[in-house]
Protein backbone atom coordinates (compact mmCIF):
# COMPACT_ATOMS: atom_id res chain seq x y z
CA UNK A 1 0.00 0.00 0.00
CA UNK A 2 1.25 3.42 -0.82
CA UNK A 3 1.15 5.89 2.14
CA UNK A 4 -0.54 8.31 -0.24
CA UNK A 5 -3.78 6.70 0.79
CA UNK A 6 -3.42 8.47 4.11
CA UNK A 7 -3.60 11.69 2.17
CA UNK A 8 -6.78 10.58 0.46
CA UNK A 9 -8.20 9.81 3.83
CA UNK A 10 -7.15 13.22 5.15
CA UNK A 11 -8.80 14.91 2.19
CA UNK A 12 -11.95 12.96 2.71
CA UNK A 13 -12.11 13.77 6.39
CA UNK A 14 -11.42 17.39 5.70
CA UNK A 15 -14.25 17.56 3.18
CA UNK A 16 -16.66 15.83 5.52
CA UNK A 17 -15.73 18.25 8.26
CA UNK A 18 -16.17 21.24 6.01
CA UNK A 19 -19.55 20.05 4.83
CA UNK A 20 -20.54 19.54 8.43
CA UNK A 21 -19.62 23.10 9.26
CA UNK A 22 -21.91 24.24 6.52
CA UNK A 23 -24.97 22.18 7.30
CA UNK A 24 -25.09 21.98 11.08
CA UNK A 25 -26.66 24.69 13.10
CA UNK A 26 -25.59 23.68 16.53
CA UNK A 27 -22.50 25.69 17.33
CA UNK A 28 -20.98 22.87 19.30
CA UNK A 29 -21.31 20.42 16.46
CA UNK A 30 -19.93 23.03 14.11
CA UNK A 31 -16.95 23.26 16.37
CA UNK A 32 -16.52 19.54 16.35
CA UNK A 33 -16.49 19.60 12.59
CA UNK A 34 -13.79 22.21 12.67
CA UNK A 35 -11.80 19.98 14.95
CA UNK A 36 -12.30 17.22 12.45
CA UNK A 37 -10.89 19.39 9.70
CA UNK A 38 -7.91 20.29 11.82
CA UNK A 39 -7.28 16.69 12.57
CA UNK A 40 -7.46 15.85 8.91
CA UNK A 41 -4.80 18.44 8.28
CA UNK A 42 -2.69 17.06 11.05
CA UNK A 43 -2.86 13.66 9.48
CA UNK A 44 -1.69 15.15 6.22
CA UNK A 45 1.20 16.89 7.96
CA UNK A 46 2.28 13.74 9.65
CA UNK A 47 2.18 11.87 6.37
CA UNK A 48 4.18 14.67 4.73
CA UNK A 49 6.68 14.34 7.50
CA UNK A 50 7.05 10.72 6.63
CA UNK A 51 7.24 11.53 2.99
CA UNK A 52 10.09 14.01 3.38
CA UNK A 53 11.90 12.12 6.03
CA UNK A 54 12.14 14.98 8.50
CA UNK A 55 10.19 16.05 11.52
CA UNK A 56 9.07 19.51 10.43
CA UNK A 57 5.66 18.23 9.40
CA UNK A 58 5.14 16.81 12.84
CA UNK A 59 6.19 20.08 14.38
CA UNK A 60 3.57 21.87 12.36
CA UNK A 61 0.99 19.31 13.39
CA UNK A 62 2.05 19.87 16.96
CA UNK A 63 1.58 23.59 16.65
CA UNK A 64 -1.74 23.00 15.01
CA UNK A 65 -2.83 21.04 18.00
CA UNK A 66 -1.79 23.79 20.36
CA UNK A 67 -3.56 26.37 18.33
CA UNK A 68 -6.60 24.12 18.08
CA UNK A 69 -6.63 23.79 21.82
CA UNK A 70 -6.52 27.54 22.25
CA UNK A 71 -9.20 27.95 19.65
CA UNK A 72 -11.46 25.40 21.29
CA UNK A 73 -11.10 27.08 24.63
CA UNK A 74 -12.00 30.47 23.30
CA UNK A 75 -14.65 29.12 20.96
CA UNK A 76 -16.41 27.17 23.64
CA UNK A 77 -16.26 30.18 25.92
CA UNK A 78 -17.95 32.17 23.22
CA UNK A 79 -20.61 29.51 22.81
CA UNK A 80 -21.26 29.44 26.52
CA UNK A 81 -21.58 33.18 26.83
CA UNK A 82 -23.69 33.30 23.70
CA UNK A 83 -25.96 30.66 25.11
CA UNK A 84 -26.27 32.59 28.30
CA UNK A 85 -27.44 35.74 26.59
CA UNK A 86 -29.58 34.28 23.85
CA UNK A 87 -30.54 30.89 25.23
CA UNK A 88 -29.54 29.27 22.02
CA UNK A 89 -26.49 27.60 20.62
CA UNK A 90 -27.57 28.02 17.01
CA UNK A 91 -25.09 29.77 14.76
CA UNK A 92 -28.01 31.15 12.79
CA UNK A 93 -29.18 33.13 15.77
CA UNK A 94 -25.95 35.06 15.79
CA UNK A 95 -26.87 37.00 12.69
CA UNK A 96 -26.85 40.53 13.97
CA UNK A 97 -24.40 41.58 11.32
CA UNK A 98 -27.00 41.66 8.61
CA UNK A 99 -28.62 44.99 7.94
Amino acid sequence: MNPVYYLYLAALLFTIGATGVLIRRNAIVVFMCIELMLNACNLAFVVFSRMHGNLDGQIIAFFTMVVAAAEVVVGLAIIVSLFRTRHSASVDDASLMKL
Binding site: I16, I23, N54
Partner: protein, 280 residues
Protein backbone atom coordinates in the same frame (compact mmCIF):
# COMPACT_ATOMS: atom_id res chain seq x y z
CA UNK B 1 7.71 -0.10 15.98
CA UNK B 2 10.48 -0.85 13.61
CA UNK B 3 11.89 1.82 11.34
CA UNK B 4 11.09 -0.10 8.21
CA UNK B 5 7.44 0.63 8.82
CA UNK B 6 8.10 4.11 7.68
CA UNK B 7 9.71 2.98 4.50
CA UNK B 8 8.58 3.52 0.95
CA UNK B 9 5.96 0.86 0.90
CA UNK B 10 4.04 -0.25 3.87
CA UNK B 11 3.70 -3.66 5.31
CA UNK B 12 0.61 -5.70 4.72
CA UNK B 13 -0.24 -5.28 8.35
CA UNK B 14 -0.30 -1.57 8.06
CA UNK B 15 -2.38 -1.81 4.91
CA UNK B 16 -4.86 -4.01 6.70
CA UNK B 17 -4.89 -1.62 9.63
CA UNK B 18 -5.40 1.33 7.30
CA UNK B 19 -8.34 -0.10 5.49
CA UNK B 20 -10.11 -1.23 8.62
CA UNK B 21 -9.43 1.82 10.77
CA UNK B 22 -9.77 4.18 7.81
CA UNK B 23 -13.31 2.93 7.32
CA UNK B 24 -13.97 3.49 10.99
CA UNK B 25 -12.56 7.00 10.79
CA UNK B 26 -14.73 7.92 7.86
CA UNK B 27 -17.81 6.47 9.46
CA UNK B 28 -16.99 8.34 12.65
CA UNK B 29 -16.59 11.56 10.73
CA UNK B 30 -19.87 11.03 8.95
CA UNK B 31 -21.73 10.32 12.11
CA UNK B 32 -20.14 13.38 13.71
CA UNK B 33 -21.82 15.36 11.04
CA UNK B 34 -25.11 13.57 10.79
CA UNK B 35 -25.91 12.48 14.34
CA UNK B 36 -28.80 14.40 15.63
CA UNK B 37 -27.64 14.75 19.19
CA UNK B 38 -24.51 16.63 20.05
CA UNK B 39 -23.41 13.96 22.50
CA UNK B 40 -23.43 11.34 19.81
CA UNK B 41 -21.49 13.61 17.53
CA UNK B 42 -18.91 14.16 20.21
CA UNK B 43 -18.50 10.48 20.82
CA UNK B 44 -18.17 9.75 17.12
CA UNK B 45 -15.54 12.41 16.84
CA UNK B 46 -13.64 10.97 19.73
CA UNK B 47 -13.64 7.66 17.92
CA UNK B 48 -12.29 9.18 14.77
CA UNK B 49 -9.60 10.94 16.74
CA UNK B 50 -8.44 7.75 18.37
CA UNK B 51 -8.21 6.16 14.96
CA UNK B 52 -6.16 9.09 13.80
CA UNK B 53 -3.87 8.68 16.80
CA UNK B 54 -3.23 5.16 15.69
CA UNK B 55 -2.42 6.42 12.22
CA UNK B 56 0.02 8.93 13.68
CA UNK B 57 1.76 6.13 15.43
CA UNK B 58 1.79 4.14 12.23
CA UNK B 59 3.43 7.03 10.46
CA UNK B 60 6.22 7.29 12.92
CA UNK B 61 4.85 10.27 14.84
CA UNK B 62 4.90 8.59 18.21
CA UNK B 63 4.82 11.69 20.27
CA UNK B 64 1.92 13.15 18.36
CA UNK B 65 0.05 9.89 18.54
CA UNK B 66 0.21 9.89 22.30
CA UNK B 67 -0.59 13.57 22.53
CA UNK B 68 -3.53 13.07 20.27
CA UNK B 69 -5.02 10.53 22.63
CA UNK B 70 -4.10 12.21 25.88
CA UNK B 71 -4.65 15.84 25.07
CA UNK B 72 -7.07 15.81 22.23
CA UNK B 73 -9.34 12.95 22.91
CA UNK B 74 -8.83 13.09 26.62
CA UNK B 75 -8.99 16.76 27.36
CA UNK B 76 -10.50 18.63 24.50
CA UNK B 77 -13.25 16.21 23.73
CA UNK B 78 -14.18 16.13 27.39
CA UNK B 79 -14.37 19.90 27.31
CA UNK B 80 -16.81 19.50 24.46
CA UNK B 81 -18.91 17.12 26.44
CA UNK B 82 -18.97 19.46 29.39
CA UNK B 83 -20.18 22.26 27.19
CA UNK B 84 -22.83 20.04 25.68
CA UNK B 85 -23.96 19.35 29.15
CA UNK B 86 -23.94 23.03 30.07
CA UNK B 87 -25.77 24.16 27.01
CA UNK B 88 -28.18 21.32 27.03
CA UNK B 89 -30.29 20.46 24.07
CA UNK B 90 -31.73 23.09 21.79
CA UNK B 91 -33.81 23.28 18.69
CA UNK B 92 -30.54 23.81 16.84
CA UNK B 93 -30.00 20.09 17.14
CA UNK B 94 -32.61 19.51 14.50
CA UNK B 95 -31.17 18.60 11.14
CA UNK B 96 -33.91 20.52 9.40
CA UNK B 97 -32.45 23.21 7.19
CA UNK B 98 -33.68 26.77 7.69
CA UNK B 99 -31.66 28.69 5.12
CA UNK B 100 -32.99 28.15 1.66
CA UNK B 101 -30.66 26.23 -0.61
CA UNK B 102 -27.96 26.07 2.02
CA UNK B 103 -27.86 22.30 2.24
CA UNK B 104 -27.68 21.74 -1.49
CA UNK B 105 -25.07 24.34 -1.96
CA UNK B 106 -23.06 22.96 0.91
CA UNK B 107 -23.23 19.43 -0.44
CA UNK B 108 -22.37 20.60 -3.92
CA UNK B 109 -19.39 22.55 -2.66
CA UNK B 110 -18.33 19.73 -0.43
CA UNK B 111 -18.49 17.10 -3.15
CA UNK B 112 -16.83 19.42 -5.64
CA UNK B 113 -14.09 20.35 -3.25
CA UNK B 114 -13.50 16.81 -2.18
CA UNK B 115 -13.34 15.51 -5.72
CA UNK B 116 -10.98 18.25 -6.72
CA UNK B 117 -8.79 17.67 -3.71
CA UNK B 118 -8.62 13.99 -4.33
CA UNK B 119 -7.91 14.62 -7.98
CA UNK B 120 -5.18 17.01 -6.96
CA UNK B 121 -3.54 14.45 -4.75
CA UNK B 122 -3.86 11.85 -7.42
CA UNK B 123 -2.30 14.23 -9.88
CA UNK B 124 0.65 15.06 -7.70
CA UNK B 125 3.68 12.87 -8.16
CA UNK B 126 4.03 11.56 -4.65
CA UNK B 127 6.14 8.57 -5.35
CA UNK B 128 9.10 9.28 -3.10
CA UNK B 129 8.68 8.41 0.54
CA UNK B 130 11.83 8.88 2.53
CA UNK B 131 10.30 7.44 5.67
CA UNK B 132 10.89 8.79 9.13
CA UNK B 133 13.54 6.23 10.00
CA UNK B 134 16.39 8.67 9.61
CA UNK B 135 14.63 11.45 11.40
CA UNK B 136 13.57 9.30 14.30
CA UNK B 137 17.02 7.81 14.69
CA UNK B 138 17.57 9.55 18.02
CA UNK B 139 14.03 8.98 19.13
CA UNK B 140 10.98 10.81 17.97
CA UNK B 141 10.49 12.93 21.07
CA UNK B 142 14.12 13.99 21.15
CA UNK B 143 13.97 14.89 17.48
CA UNK B 144 10.91 17.01 17.97
CA UNK B 145 12.35 18.67 21.02
CA UNK B 146 15.53 19.52 19.18
CA UNK B 147 13.54 21.20 16.47
CA UNK B 148 11.10 22.98 18.73
CA UNK B 149 13.76 24.50 20.89
CA UNK B 150 16.02 25.53 18.06
CA UNK B 151 14.43 26.14 14.73
CA UNK B 152 10.90 26.76 15.96
CA UNK B 153 11.68 28.38 19.24
CA UNK B 154 10.08 31.65 18.41
CA UNK B 155 6.96 30.03 17.10
CA UNK B 156 6.92 27.95 20.24
CA UNK B 157 7.17 31.00 22.47
CA UNK B 158 4.47 32.75 20.56
CA UNK B 159 2.27 29.69 20.86
CA UNK B 160 2.76 29.88 24.55
CA UNK B 161 1.62 33.45 24.54
CA UNK B 162 -1.35 32.39 22.48
CA UNK B 163 -2.34 29.76 24.95
CA UNK B 164 -2.18 32.17 27.86
CA UNK B 165 -4.17 34.70 25.93
CA UNK B 166 -6.73 32.06 25.08
CA UNK B 167 -7.02 31.01 28.68
CA UNK B 168 -7.48 34.59 29.85
CA UNK B 169 -9.84 35.22 26.98
CA UNK B 170 -11.99 32.26 27.87
CA UNK B 171 -12.24 33.48 31.41
CA UNK B 172 -13.11 36.98 30.39
CA UNK B 173 -15.76 35.70 28.02
CA UNK B 174 -17.45 33.38 30.43
CA UNK B 175 -17.02 35.46 33.53
CA UNK B 176 -20.16 37.36 34.35
CA UNK B 177 -19.84 40.34 36.55
CA UNK B 178 -23.07 41.52 38.07
CA UNK B 179 -23.31 45.13 37.18
CA UNK B 180 -26.68 45.55 38.81
CA UNK B 181 -28.36 44.36 41.95
CA UNK B 182 -30.20 41.08 41.36
CA UNK B 183 -33.95 41.38 41.44
CA UNK B 184 -35.57 40.54 44.72
CA UNK B 185 -38.45 38.11 44.82
CA UNK B 186 -40.78 40.98 45.34
CA UNK B 187 -39.54 42.76 42.27
CA UNK B 188 -39.79 39.58 40.27
CA UNK B 189 -43.36 39.05 41.26
CA UNK B 190 -44.19 42.67 40.56
CA UNK B 191 -42.71 42.29 37.13
CA UNK B 192 -44.76 39.18 36.50
CA UNK B 193 -47.91 41.00 37.44
CA UNK B 194 -46.96 43.89 35.24
CA UNK B 195 -46.34 41.62 32.28
CA UNK B 196 -49.56 39.79 33.02
CA UNK B 197 -48.36 36.25 32.25
CA UNK B 198 -47.72 33.46 34.72
CA UNK B 199 -48.79 35.52 37.63
CA UNK B 200 -48.69 32.57 40.02
CA UNK B 201 -45.60 30.33 40.18
CA UNK B 202 -45.26 27.81 37.38
CA UNK B 203 -47.30 24.67 37.99
CA UNK B 204 -45.45 21.62 39.19
CA UNK B 205 -45.09 18.44 37.12
CA UNK B 206 -46.70 15.22 38.13
CA UNK B 207 -50.33 14.12 38.00
CA UNK B 208 -52.51 13.25 40.92
CA UNK B 209 -49.53 12.13 42.91
CA UNK B 210 -49.49 8.97 40.83
CA UNK B 211 -46.62 10.24 38.80
CA UNK B 212 -44.07 12.52 40.30
CA UNK B 213 -41.33 12.27 37.68
CA UNK B 214 -40.13 15.60 36.25
CA UNK B 215 -40.78 14.43 32.71
CA UNK B 216 -44.51 13.97 33.19
CA UNK B 217 -46.56 16.98 32.36
CA UNK B 218 -49.18 18.12 34.86
CA UNK B 219 -52.73 17.87 33.62
CA UNK B 220 -55.08 20.74 33.26
CA UNK B 221 -58.65 20.37 34.63
CA UNK B 222 -59.91 19.11 31.28
CA UNK B 223 -57.34 16.41 31.30
CA UNK B 224 -54.91 17.83 28.73
CA UNK B 225 -51.21 18.16 29.65
CA UNK B 226 -49.68 21.55 30.39
CA UNK B 227 -46.31 22.17 28.80
CA UNK B 228 -45.45 24.71 31.40
CA UNK B 229 -45.02 22.13 34.03
CA UNK B 230 -41.99 20.51 32.40
CA UNK B 231 -38.49 21.92 32.20
CA UNK B 232 -37.50 23.53 28.95
CA UNK B 233 -34.64 21.17 28.27
CA UNK B 234 -36.96 18.17 28.42
CA UNK B 235 -39.45 19.94 26.28
CA UNK B 236 -36.82 20.69 23.64
CA UNK B 237 -35.64 17.15 23.71
CA UNK B 238 -39.20 15.98 23.27
CA UNK B 239 -38.83 13.81 26.37
CA UNK B 240 -42.19 14.58 27.90
CA UNK B 241 -44.21 11.64 28.97
CA UNK B 242 -47.84 12.31 28.33
CA UNK B 243 -50.09 10.46 30.75
CA UNK B 244 -53.24 12.39 30.07
CA UNK B 245 -54.80 9.62 28.00
CA UNK B 246 -54.17 7.11 30.79
CA UNK B 247 -55.76 9.37 33.32
CA UNK B 248 -58.77 9.93 31.15
CA UNK B 249 -59.06 6.20 30.56
CA UNK B 250 -59.02 5.56 34.29
CA UNK B 251 -61.73 8.10 34.72
CA UNK B 252 -63.84 6.43 32.08
CA UNK B 253 -63.39 3.04 33.69
CA UNK B 254 -64.36 4.47 37.04
CA UNK B 255 -67.45 6.04 35.58
CA UNK B 256 -68.37 2.82 33.78
CA UNK B 257 -68.09 0.85 36.92
CA UNK B 258 -70.32 3.35 38.64
CA UNK B 259 -72.85 3.00 35.83
CA UNK B 260 -72.81 -0.75 36.06
CA UNK B 261 -73.39 -0.65 39.73
CA UNK B 262 -76.25 1.77 39.30
CA UNK B 263 -77.46 -0.44 36.41
CA UNK B 264 -77.63 2.23 33.87
CA UNK B 265 -77.05 1.71 30.15
CA UNK B 266 -73.39 1.70 29.30
CA UNK B 267 -72.24 4.79 27.41
CA UNK B 268 -70.47 4.86 24.10
CA UNK B 269 -68.43 1.67 23.85
CA UNK B 270 -66.28 3.16 21.10
CA UNK B 271 -64.89 5.81 23.41
CA UNK B 272 -64.28 3.23 25.96
CA UNK B 273 -62.34 1.09 23.60
CA UNK B 274 -60.17 3.93 22.54
CA UNK B 275 -59.29 4.85 26.03
CA UNK B 276 -58.35 1.25 26.64
CA UNK B 277 -55.97 1.35 23.72
CA UNK B 278 -54.50 4.56 24.83
CA UNK B 279 -53.72 3.22 28.21
CA UNK B 280 -51.69 0.33 26.79
Amino acid sequence: MSPQLAAYTTSTGEAFQFWVLGTVAVLGALSTVFMKKAVHSALSLAGTMIVLAVFYLANGAYFLGIVQIVVYTGAIMMLFLFVVMLVGVTAADSLKETIKGQRWLALLCGVGFGVLLLAGIANASLKDFDGTGQANANGNVQGLAALIFTKYVFAFEITGALLITAAVGAMVLTHRERTERPKTQREQSEQRVREGKHVPPLPAPGVYARHNAVDIAGLLPDGTPSELTVSKTLRDRGQIRDVSAEALGDLRALEQRAEERLERTPIDPVDFKRSEEASK
